[in-house]
């Protein structure tokens, strides 16, 4: 028997509605569209009352695991606590202007954008920022277009972008949509980019290296300064994917260690809620030579007043409507203001301390393929176990712990990528460690039990192959009760 609420389409009854808004009473003979263009009904569209709608979505919400109800060490996603006050602030109605409001009526909003840009510049050592990209991948795409435009202005946009084998899939996809071929380079035995190996790939076709730092193994790319120098000598640029910026926010600035372009994820490092898959925000920071290639709009100040530039001569153009995900920026700025200089580097310190604590407590139970220093996340493998990573992950669900990221990065067999973040207590970590030990014991004693887990969730293990083969992407009337 399914524990999911019935689909709204099956409980709908004609005539119901959950909205009441006063409408002007104008006669239908005012209608100025030809009748042939008008719609009769909306076939099968649901009709529910307010209370039924409220129950439906309340019941649905309880089927989710979230940061607010339990530990969520999903590696690479930085599932830190999303402060409540930031939601209140994002709800201030006087911030919710129409995007085409005259600029003299939205000076407060422009100040917020400018203030966030300034803080990100200070924290990253980059020359300038655009906050318009909607998410990390959108930022990558924007950043790679900036690189291409810059290189073209130097006479040759070049052809190839180098990407380590440990990179997120968005990196090669973004480089591709910016018009580049992707060449994968192997990580060395320390789990980082090998300087000498990299140099072998550098020729006049190489536009840039996309490097995630710390990389997806949670390891700092300690040759970054030399790598950057080698790239620059070759006329190539260094793109730093800042998805893992939580590892060294307030500790080191990417601009000081050779990055030419970086992106940040406001929905990771800067505490804005992930919303079940967005909205995010993926600001791009660039070095001085690249500033003029930023997308529009840009904001400028004449000292007392802020204004918006909708056109720039050299920029890559517009990549998103209006100003970007403004209310995500509002939350991120509120977070940074709350931290202030007193607390900013505690973020990384506690995040890294927590990850190292987990590493230390679990490394005698799980295979740790790369022994380099761990920053914000630690990645184990399932080598030597008699169950798979997937089985451990599914069993964790029974203990109200969201699993770590699984099977990524691809260079680790059965990767378990654990990122606790700084907003977890020692008690939470100790509980996780003890649950992991229990599960590993269960794996030894009764592997079948794990393979059929989870048991305490609203649904049992779901058949993803069935979903793809018998594609069903919407409700259809025929199956109504």
């Amino acid at each position: 028997m399914s524990k999911l609420p019935e689909l709204i389409f099956n409980v709908s009854r004609p005539g119901k509605t959950g909205i009441s808004v006063r409408l002007n009473q104008f006669p239908d003979d005012l209608i100025r569209i030809d009748k042939s263009k008008l719609r009769e009904g909306i076939e099968d569209f649901p009709s529910l009352s307010e209370v039924e709608t409220v129950r439906h979505f309340s019941n649905l919400s309880r089927l989710n695991h979230s940061v607010d109800n339990g530990f969520y060490p999903l590696g690479s996603c930085t599932m830190k606590y999303n402060p409540k006050v930031n939601e209140k602030i994002a709800g201030i109605e006087d911030l919710s202007a129409h995007p085409y409001s005259p600029v003299d009526l939205v000076q407060g909003n422009l100040k917020i954008i400018k203030e966030l840009e300034d803080r990100l510049i200070e924290l990253t050592g980059m020359d300038s920022f655009t906050l318009t990209p909607s998410a990390g991948a959108h930022g990558e795409f924007t950043g790679m277009m900036i690189i291409r435009k810059y290189l073209a202005s130097q006479g040759n946009p070049r052809k190839i972008v180098l990407i380590p084998d440990s990179a997120h899939g968005t990196n090669p996809a973004s480089a591709h949509f910016a018009g580049y071929e992707v060449k994968e380079i192997p990580s060395n035995e320390d789990g980082i980019i090998d300087l000498e190996e990299l140099k072998k790939h550098l020729d006049e076709d190489v536009a840039a290296l996309m490097m995630t730092n710390p990389n997806t193994l949670g390891i700092f790319e300690k040759n970054i300064v030399k790598i950057s120098e080698a790239l620059h000598q070759n006329g190539s640029l260094l793109y730093m994917d800042g998805a893992n910026m939580n590892a060294f926010l307030g500790i080191v600035r990417p601009g000081d260690i050779g990055a030419d372009v970086i992106h940040l994820n406001l929905h990771k490092t800067f505490s804005t809620p992930h919303g079940g898959g967005g909205p995010g925000s993926g600001p791009i920071g660039v070095c001085k030579e690249l500033t003029k290639f930023l997308p529009v709009p840009t904001i400028s100040s004449d000292g007392s007043r802020l204004s918006v530039n909708y056109f720039t001569k050299d920029g890559i153009g517009r990549i998103k409507n209006f100003y970007g995900n403004f209310l995500v920026m509002v939350r991120a700025l509120a977070y940074l203001m709350t931290l202030g200089k007193e607390n900013i580097n505690r973020v990384a310190e506690d995040a890294v301390l927590n990850a190292n604590y987990i590493r230390k407590e679990l490394e005698e139970y799980l295979d740790l393929p790369y022994k380099s220093k761990t920053l914000h996340e630690v990645v184990f493998s399932d080598s030597g176990l008699n169950v798979k990573t997937l089985d451990i992950a599914k069993r964790l669900l029974d203990y109200n712990i969201h699993p770590f990221t699984i099977y990524f990065p691809l260079i680790i067999h059965g990767a378990m990528m654990i990122e606790p973040t700084e907003t977890e207590s020692k008690e939470t970590l100790d509980n996780f460690i003890s649950v992991m030990k229990t599960i590993l014991k269960e794996a030894e004693e009764n592997p079948e039990y794990l393979k059929n887990s989870p048991y305490n969730t609203p649904v049992s293990r779901l058949d993803e192959v069935h979903a793809a083969r018998k594609l069903k992407l919407r409700w259809e009337k025929s199956e109504e009760n």
């Binding site: 005012l30 263009k37 005259p102 009526l105 992930h274 209006f322």
Partner: protein, 449 residues
């Protein structure tokens, strides 16, 4: 600091377990001369009460809320019921990640499945994805989808698409082997010039993208357009920037359109100074394996019970890397959830009533303007909830200032985007404009004679 649960004691104990004396040892891979950079330029922390004051003051520095706004152009002010706000703010919707572990994400996944279904019903097309960033990037994804599917590099685009959308499309394709050719619009109707379209429908064209209601607010001849494109074997994509037109107008699917992309901010999202909004894409079945973005599908669990998962991920970047249909990962899931709640709450009746009211309010405004001779409605027929007000000899800045004196933001000066449209204002009227508001606006315009 309330966001850091570790105590100093905890930190000491943990350092001991790890085997370090100083936290800085954990960062020893970072070049020493670059680490622990000075933080002097970062302002001091704010307490919670100070923080709220700070942002309320930013709000007070904004003066837009003193005016009755008639601004539209891709961002629309509609009524949002409290139930939408309250339900969408539930932490279990707001604070999870993308549903990679479906067994503990059925709430988000079922809501997305319901959202996909309702968007499919509204567009009249069988497949809808679970969100894109916004209308402009959705339009760009529509162009890429047409080029991929047709394997042709030339795409036609109507020149009366929202100019920002055209800018985004052009940015997206600047490094790809895709060429955009523009199709003219008719100066008297504001609609696509059908003769120009016909003359450009050649064998090497992969698709045609147009907007309806278009940037001027005018509903296009979608059926005629799709007849022409399908006769030529060309894919037709319709952009919808005002989703509230969908319940009022015959659906794109019923008009024979292949793909619909657009902006669904109107379904329960505040103006938010332009974001976060909600991009959407719907299409015929044959496009499903080429679609960008997340798709939620129904399946069964190991006990045979109904459940939902993200599906067809072999299209996506984490599997296909540089060969993916899009680089999109994090998208606008929570915005789609809000739309799902909003659409459920309104139901068929709410959507029909409110969309009709949008049109009637706008038609009333147009009718009253037609009684004046110092201004006129530029495109008089087939508008939905936006019209172009031609100020004739009046200077647009002067007009806007006069209206501001009356507490009115009259609309968007088209000259911002289109040089040939001097002294034209794009006016939007929704269900939130009372008859009194519209009358005050009309009176203020009348007084300028």
């Amino acid at each position: 600091m309330r966001y850091f649960p570790l105590t100093d004691n905890d930190r000491e104990e943990m350092k001991k377990v790890i085997g370090i004396n100083d936290i800085r040892e954990l960062f020893s891979d970072i070049p020493e001369d670059k680490s622990y950079f000075p933080l002097d330029n970062i302002p001091s922390m704010l307490h919670e009460d100070e923080l709220i004051d700070k942002f309320e003051n930013y709000g007070k520095e904004n003066e837009f809320s003193k005016y009755k706004s008639f601004l539209g152009g891709g961002a629309y002010n509609h009524f949002i019921p409290e139930a939408v706000k309250s339900l969408s703010m539930k932490a279990d919707f707001l604070t999870p990640y993308t549903p990679y572990q479906p067994e503990v994400s059925q709430g988000s996944l079922q809501a997305m499945f319901e959202y996909q279904t309702m968007m499919s019903m509204l567009t009249g097309l069988p497949v809808s994805n679970s969100s894109l960033y916004d209308g402009g990037t959705a339009a760009a994804e529509g162009v890429l989808l047409m080029a991929r599917k047709s394997r042709k590099k030339k795409i036609l685009a109507a020149s009366n698409i929202h100019p920002e959308y055209l800018e985004i499309i052009n940015s997206y394709i600047q490094n790809l082997d895709i060429i955009i050719e523009q199709v003219e619009f008719d100066e008297s109707s504001g609609k696509i010039n059908v003769e120009d379209l016909k003359s450009k429908l050649a064998d090497d064209i992969g698709g045609f993208i147009f907007q309806s209601p278009n940037f001027f607010g005018v509903v296009e001849e979608s059926s005629l357009i799709s007849d022409l494109t399908s006769d030529s074997g060309i894919i037709a994509t319709q952009i919808v920037t005002e989703a509230f037109s969908l319940p009022f107008l015959s659906s794109p699917g019923s008009n024979g359109i292949d793909i619909v992309v657009g902006e669904a901010q109107s379904f329960g999202l505040p103006l938010a100074y332009g974001g976060p909004f909600l991009g959407f894409i719907s299409a015929k079945k044959e496009f499903v394996r080429q679609m960008p973005g997340r798709l939620v599908g129904e399946t069964v669990d190991s006990n045979g019970n109904r459940g939902y998962v993200l599906t067809l991920s072999t299209r996506e970047q984490h599997i296909k890397r540089e060969k993916a249909t899009s680089n999109i990962c994090t998208n606008q899931a929570w915005c789609a959830l809000r739309a799902s709640i909003y659409l459920t709450l309104l139901g068929e009746k709410g959507l029909k009533d409110i969309s009709r009211s949008n049109h009637l309010n706008t038609a009333y405004f147009a009718k009253e303007i037609s009684k004046m001779d110092h201004v006129e409605i530029r495109f008089k027929e087939d508008f939905f909830n936006e019209v172009v007000l031609d100020l004739k000899d009046m200077n647009v800045d002067k007009f806007i200032n006069k209206m501001k004196e009356n507490g009115i933001l009259p609309g968007i000066p088209l000259e911002w985007f289109l040089k040939d449209f001097k002294n034209h204002i794009l006016v939007n009227i929704t269900e939130l404009h009372r008859k009194d508001d519209i009358d005050s606006f009309i009176t203020a315009i009348g007084e300028l004679k």
